[in-house]
């Protein structure tokens, strides 16, 4: 009984400490880190169904970090942690959108027979459109576009370097250009 009372006292304390740590770390973010966070949120909002704004995505990620529904693992930098949460929300929203469309389009019996992995044409089209938009960002930089294609194929840096016959230094220079384009172009437009 006493042990259970101790547990109930320590549990909220642990949660409060986590919340406080997250809040403290958020307040200490520099302008450059806030810009990076904005860029991450804008990137993840691309192709999201229902016109979700990047600020909604970021707000939700911060809320989940603060209320402890996503605990901040030790050793993980705050921005990487928030990026992970935004990725999870992105996946959730994509899945939910696909599910809602299937429910709207099929009767209950047909829905029960539907395979979880059944192809959702609208999601495929939306993904193809988003891919095209991302490729367009790099259209004027052929080497960067080739690296982007390799990354989209899920290839490792080594594989991309081998295929494109790039030295490590050349590859790093292209990556730097990709980051610059992503930051300059990727932060323009989109829903606030």
């Amino acid at each position: 009984m006493q042990r259970s009372a101790e547990r109930s006292q320590t549990q909220p304390a642990r949660l409060a400490r986590t919340t406080e740590q997250v809040a403290h770390a958020l307040r200490r973010l520099t302008d450059a880190e806030l810009l990076r966070l904005e860029a991450l949120a804008r990137l993840r909002t691309r192709g999201l169904p229902g016109g979700v704004a990047w600020s909604d995505l970021l707000n939700e990620a911060v809320r989940r970090a603060l209320d402890g529904s996503r605990p901040w693992p030790p050793g993980v930098p705050l921005l990487a942690f928030l990026a992970q949460i935004m990725r999870s929300i992105w996946s959730e929203l994509c899945r939910r959108d696909a599910l809602e469309r299937r429910i709207a389009l099929t009767d209950a019996a047909a829905f029960c027979r539907t395979e979880a992995n059944e192809i959702d044409p609208e999601r495929v089209v939306a993904a193809a459109q988003t891919l095209a938009e991302l490729h367009k960002l790099f259209a004027r930089d052929a080497p960067a576009l080739s690296v982007i294609a390799g990354l989209a194929d899920g290839r490792t840096a080594q594989e991309i370097r081998d295929i494109l016959d790039l030295s490590e230094a050349e590859y790093d220079t292209i990556r730097k250009r990709i980051r610059r384009i992503l930051l300059r172009q990727g932060l323009v437009g989109g829903k606030p």
Binding site: R27, L35, E60, L66, D67, V125, A127
Partner: protein
């Protein structure tokens, strides 16, 4: 599986670009952004407003949560049902 290809490609690419943004240096970010300040996010929840006061697009010219007893900005008031 091939029909899912754009979805899988997009997931791979977003993950890779996200990793690039995470490893960009502060200098790269400042160079790319010039003097641009981070955009503000509209207030959605009190907890976010408290944790990120500088990032918040405060309603009606406020810059922080009101003092105790003062009216809450409408964006932060609980919705009435």
């Amino acid at each position: 599986m091939k029909d899912w290809q754009p979805v899988a490609e997009l997931e791979c690419l977003l993950d890779a670009l996200e990793a690039e943004l995470l490893c960009a240096t502060d200098e790269e970010i400042r160079d790319a952004m010039g003097r641009r300040q981070p955009a503000r996010i509209a207030v959605r929840t009190v907890s976010v407003a408290i944790a990120m006061p500088d990032m918040i697009d405060w309603p009606s010219g406020a810059s922080s949560l009101p003092a105790f007893g003062q009216p809450m900005p409408s964006a932060l008031r609980p919705r009435e049902h």
